[in-house]
Symmetry: C2
Subunit: 698 residues, 2 copies
Amino acid sequence: MTASALDRLLAPRSVAVIGASEDATRIGGRPIAAMLAAGYAGRILPVNPNRREVQGLTCHASVDDLPEAPDAALIAVPARMVPETIAALGRRGCGMATLFSAGFAEAGADGAAAQADLLGRARDAGIRLLGPNTLGVYNVDLGYYGTFSSSLDTGFPRPGNIGIASQSGAFGAHLGALARDRALGSSVLVTTGNEADITVADAIAWMAARDGTDVICAYMEAVNDAPGLLSALDAARAAGKPVIVLKAGRSTLGARAAASHTASLTGDAVVADAVLAAHGAILVRDPEAMMDIAYVASKRIVPRDRSLGVITVSGGAGIVITDEAERIGLPMPEMPAQAQARLKALLPYAAPANPLDCTAQALNDPSLLESFTRAALADGGYGAVLSFLTYVAGSPAMSETILAAMRPLRAEWPDRIIAICGLGAPEVMARYDAEGILVFSDPCRALRAIDAVCVWGAARGAVRRDPPVPPEVALPDRAPDEAEAKRLLAASGISSAPEEAVQGVEAAVEAADALGYPVVMKILSPDILHKSDIGAVRLNLGDAEAVRGAYGAIEAAVRSGAPEARPAGMLVARQLSGGIECLMGINRDPTFGPVAVFGLGGIFVELLDDVALRACPFDEATAREMILSIRGAAILTGARGRPPADVDALAAMLSGLSVFAVGAGPRLRSVDLNPVLAMPEGQGAFALDAVIELDGEA
Amino acid sequence: MTASALDRLLAPRSVAVIGASEDATRIGGRPIAAMLAAGYAGRILPVNPNRREVQGLTCHASVDDLPEAPDAALIAVPARMVPETIAALGRRGCGMATLFSAGFAEAGADGAAAQADLLGRARDAGIRLLGPNTLGVYNVDLGYYGTFSSSLDTGFPRPGNIGIASQSGAFGAHLGALARDRALGSSVLVTTGNEADITVADAIAWMAARDGTDVICAYMEAVNDAPGLLSALDAARAAGKPVIVLKAGRSTLGARAAASHTASLTGDAVVADAVLAAHGAILVRDPEAMMDIAYVASKRIVPRDRSLGVITVSGGAGIVITDEAERIGLPMPEMPAQAQARLKALLPYAAPANPLDCTAQALNDPSLLESFTRAALADGGYGAVLSFLTYVAGSPAMSETILAAMRPLRAEWPDRIIAICGLGAPEVMARYDAEGILVFSDPCRALRAIDAVCVWGAARGAVRRDPPVPPEVALPDRAPDEAEAKRLLAASGISSAPEEAVQGVEAAVEAADALGYPVVMKILSPDILHKSDIGAVRLNLGDAEAVRGAYGAIEAAVRSGAPEARPAGMLVARQLSGGIECLMGINRDPTFGPVAVFGLGGIFVELLDDVALRACPFDEATAREMILSIRGAAILTGARGRPPADVDALAAMLSGLSVFAVGAGPRLRSVDLNPVLAMPEGQGAFALDAVIELDGEA
């Protein structure tokens, strides 16, 4: 959907209220009362056959009687009356309907059928739908309240640049009220309910494209339009607008099977995290943390550097802050020596490294605070400066002095985040905020929110490469055996150990002689995916005699372990050694399509879930980032005297696999390369096994 | 120190102010002004040779001129005048002096010497010291303000049952102001500064013993009195008073060497965490999280069960809460089926499993809220019930109804935590709090704070065993070689593989024949701790010939690799296999004495820092808890088809090692058992190497 289609939803020039009520506490009355109170700039058109007037406005008997084609309609009539209302709105030329009515997909199978029917009718009528089962939308600057949320009973939102998009109505309204109660301004709220048509992704795209919203808070459970969501995230990032996402439903989705097969390594929530983060979303779990980050981002200052300078009047607080900065990885570089010497000259018992402790002496001589803060900005060059001032900042007398000291600094360094941690009456603390100085009561919360914005800025600044264009892959009609799978993958640059598929014991010996000993031998059959489970893999065959013995033993094992399997011969491969065992795979995520997984073998995957995920396709540089992002990456880079592994070869293989997965199309269910042997640097990486699973048989 | 000694510090009947000032903004004037404003119940005795009256009170020319022996004295004179003041106070019979003056240990070596001198004089004079360099104390109920903190400029603390003990003055005062600003009451604040004498541990012990404080918030950097701190924590736990500890300085201490030697596996902060937690401390990193937990604990309800029931008017919020509960491990069991059916009958489209979603319908029919909450308490039996009510709770009209519904439930279940997540004006939300219903604006913060109290309660309820009494261990004069070390440890129940120390190649063969092949052979020398580094260990010796060859090879390796070493023969041991490699060790922590460490070998320790720590001594049950607490514990308990290891034998060995470490006394620097082979269940655990390091040579 183009963003402009949502203009009628979020910035309508006129709105019809179908089922308008005189009673300002009823669903059909609340929006009218709210718009009247907020001075909605457009025209409100109540529709109710039983009234001539509603809340002082002329009421129309039917949609057909409306004096104009409304941009938007709010539908507050029972579910059974909705289809006819939609048809009438279509006839009248209304393009956008918000459907408060419940009793659709959220109410079971019958409701889902009714919702599908309704969507068909709306499309026929040329009408876009918000909902059903939505709490509606608001647009603060226009005074447009197409919502029946009772959150307005405790006050209207303040104008501001934080937009909220939420699948859940009550939770979205909670976020709006949370912003308001901490004196943050919001621009629009969109709650999408059942998402029959318009999704959270559409709302994000609209906010990304329209002035007035600089930060987007999004709450979602299901992702109903994955491509739309990813492109909305990309658009917001391109527009310089951080999107903070709370994706709920982790616990109900994440139950992981214990099997070692890569298909079971990841829950949906983990996949969603990886994909959304790759598209620039800032992921949070707490509503409050979401609002903290939105607050920082609302100032529209995204530092070039992820680095923090700390000014403090308490040595203790300086240590607490340093601890938290280290924990979250926010760098706190030391001040340059010369600047430290200058500050020492000002205050001999100061500790001016970073934190810059100007001690309680700053209470007696507030010029110290200015000097220290100026030094942090000018000499330290920190992207963000946080001053721990606690109750000193809240003292009405001191606050004047502190503001006088910080005002010129705020003006002089417009590209830096300047924040204080202070305690005091809200009206005192609001004065700092009004001058562009962020105010937090908790230093650790301040750090986490500031860092999220710094990290977002750094990732945004990083060069992003277009993913490779996947050539189409011709899949066989049925799941390939190991040799076929490896041949298919080889075309995408995925190397295996030198190997040969053979028929008969003497052909096996001949192949082994040619490959060089030791060799490994395994049954080939499209019907046996997990060969070692039935004893159909033999390792370390050192000579022709061993090959001959193993051939018979494998045949016997297959006869007893998989009597129904169609044998397709034997695979003889050179046995590689001296590498590090990894695994790679592809799983088709129902939401995001093919997702690649990388991990080390063994306990790293079995016990530690130490894997990296990414939606396919991606280039080698991205693959390299994935590989180095796992906790056990040091094993590959030469920890404790080990030779470094060929990470370049792994990255090429992983990227190649991601391209293969997209080229293979939706019939590809999964690929499992386990193990992949990463040889020492310069010596390559080789898939020692390959299993490809396909959906359906052609 | 007995708690009663601190009565004079924290609840004095009279206080002398040495260096009393008329100016209420000066250090010698602030405490007097604060006590006059707060109506201090005791007698204020200003001392200043230049004034007859201070702030309306009779001023005394000198300590000797005081009309009575004051319980406490506040010293606000320059450092050079302090010694004589202390002497005079001693003569006069004052027992407790608070030393605001700075310029002592915090100011360098000269200051440290002055502080030591002062402490000697105070002891001679029979005076206990708070500080120097302290911001002082307050006791809210008495109106006693022995502090010059400017935090009082923004208001006095409210009376309440949260006590604060802080090494840092400004940070302690920040905690006090933080409590006040969120309408939490505090009883006492103690800031200990340089801790020449009185420590945070003393303050905790006092609060543990005295009525009026039910929750203790403690901030510390160094632990200056470890035994005192641990016994204060034990006393608080015994008194049912949670102690919430923010131990700062993690980042400066935690730099870990990469060596595999156990001595380098743990930073001081990790040791402190482990020891404090074992004594019941609730550990936090954020001041705000500290205050959240203190808030929950201040209601003095510690549930029997760690379980949560959630009532919500928003399905979305229910999911967010469930996600966070799962993340932190707070169980949310389902409601009994019968109760669910009953709730379904009340509200057909409710989801009453847990979360219990009574939907926005609760706004129209508030009796639903009561029914659902009652069911959670009565049928669900949850230790804590959290209702997500967002802005509904803050609506003045709804708040009356909600309170009317919850009041009888609060009274009926006095042993359960009942909390709401709500947004609204402070005066509206305060009404819930006044009725014993906890109020949070963020559901995730609520969860974390509630859970901390539940976990504390569960740990407090667990049976605690007295640690074993360590028999004295006679250490040799110098560091023992491997065979001696194993003999020493064997007396504490630590088994090694069957082995024999021999001299000469034929004795080695004879020993190997007797032990059974394969054997392992290593050099014995008190001068070579890391034998394999120089090639002085040979494994897998399968017959007498191999033993003979290895003997010469090891001798040659020692001659070239450690020519100065005094050889003490050769150790021949049966080579065990089939077990899981672990490691155990002892390190003498400068603060907490001998600390035991347990981990798996290899990457778990090298890359993942996956170890468990505990102060020695401890019993086998505690050792078992440690062993099973590491992330890789599943490897020992039979993950993925492996045979379970003999955890009982490991636990016996680890406990035995902890007892040995205490019995060996302060000369024991470290013990390193690496590897320890844990055999399959019932087959024991064996130290394959043992290194004991001692301090000094006798």
